[in-house]
Symmetry: C2
Subunit: 221 residues, 2 copies
């Protein structure tokens, strides 16, 4: 019997379900984003955790459900960011530009999220479809866009025929592509779309594009 004051946990074993669960999700997010669903290894995820593979199955049930949980958490982060959007006090043009910039920034700051969404699309969104939390959840940004658009159209600043979901798709497309296709685009055209010194350039380009589209007088056909 050693008289040395041992730390309270001789085996280094602490119990903290919440921490363990969160740590698994953190590591799984990185691994799935890095290697795709099939490419990610359950053993590898476990190894990068302070716990064991057993715990992944204990808490999540399996690889598939783990990926779904990763997606659910990733989407909840973006939804939270969108909820903090505060642009209603701006005039429509400034509000839309601000919204586009926030979207732009979020995509840039969360490349792992972009990769997860790309991967989920390869799997035809089957995990989203199977998730109760994610089905048809929409996004807070959509409501904001709807209100800004309406205000801008009422005042005659914006062209009348633009739909909120379409505008959201347009903004997302630009932000998403820039990050998701960074590597092939860079390899083929020799230009890094995510280079730091190009950041302001593309941020402005997005805003200019959206505003130009919204304020152009289109020939009615």
């Amino acid at each position: 019997m050693t008289s040395v004051e041992e730390p309270a946990r001789p085996n280094g074993r602490i119990r903290d379900a919440a921490r363990t669960k969160a740590e698994i999700l953190d590591v799984a997010t990185r691994e799935f984003a890095r290697s795709g669903f099939a490419g990610a290894r359950v053993d590898e995820i476990a190894a990068r955790t302070r716990t064991t593979k057993r715990m992944i199955y204990y808490y999540f049930g399996g690889k598939e459900q783990l990926f779904t949980a990763v997606l659910e958490r990733a989407y909840s982060v973006i939804r939270q960011a969108e909820q903090e959007l505060d642009v209603e006090h701006l005039d429509p043009v400034a509000a839309i530009r601000r919204l586009a910039e926030v979207t732009f920034d979020h995509h840039e700051r969360h490349p792992d999220f972009i990769r997860l969404v790309s991967i989920e699309n390869i799997h035809e969104a089957e995990h989203i479809a199977a998730s109760e939390k994610l089905g048809r959840i929409g996004s807070p940004a959509l409501e904001v866009i709807r209100r800004i658009l309406e205000s801008g159209q009422r005042s005659g600043l914006f062209t009348a025929d633009v739909d909120a979901v379409d505008l959201h798709a347009m903004i997302s497309a630009f932000c998403f592509f820039r990050v998701s296709n960074r590597h092939t685009f860079g390899a083929l055209f020799g230009r890094d779309l995510v280079a730091p010194d190009q950041r302001e350039h593309y941020r402005k380009m997005l805003g200019d594009m959206v505003i130009a589209y919204l304020t152009a007088d289109r020939a009615t056909d």
Copy 2:
């Protein structure tokens, strides 16, 4: 010894290197696009072919090189389509719109290509980097864009500060996202971006967006 007239090849075995190779590439394209690189199974690809797994290794060397060969062929198809682009006789506005539409149509017609590119981005374009055929190949469309832009800017129709690669990225982003993110977008917002009855709508939207951006008078900062 049967006296029945056997077909010329009693074992059904015909030799045709070109056909075998092409068939492997066809099947591999579908399988990689469907399941991703790690998710695709060499045995499955072989099974869907009239030949055997042995031939995949005989002609391509391995799974990795097979994927590279699939990518090379897929890119050569789009480059060929772009080379047939004939818009130089149009005025700049019409030419850009036409170019956008051709890009739009090509993306819609080749969803497997989109998926392969998404997958290659998950792998950070390592196969493109390793391929002699694909490194920095650019695209014929770029040269076309360059010429139209120059002409439009010279005549004062277009704003001066637009770069050809950037414009190509803008057009590609819209076309690519619509196909690549079809499933997650549909699941989250309940709208199918590739629904046939929405096709003309989005095609027009892309053209309007690009022309609006190119002809807008931007406040210089």
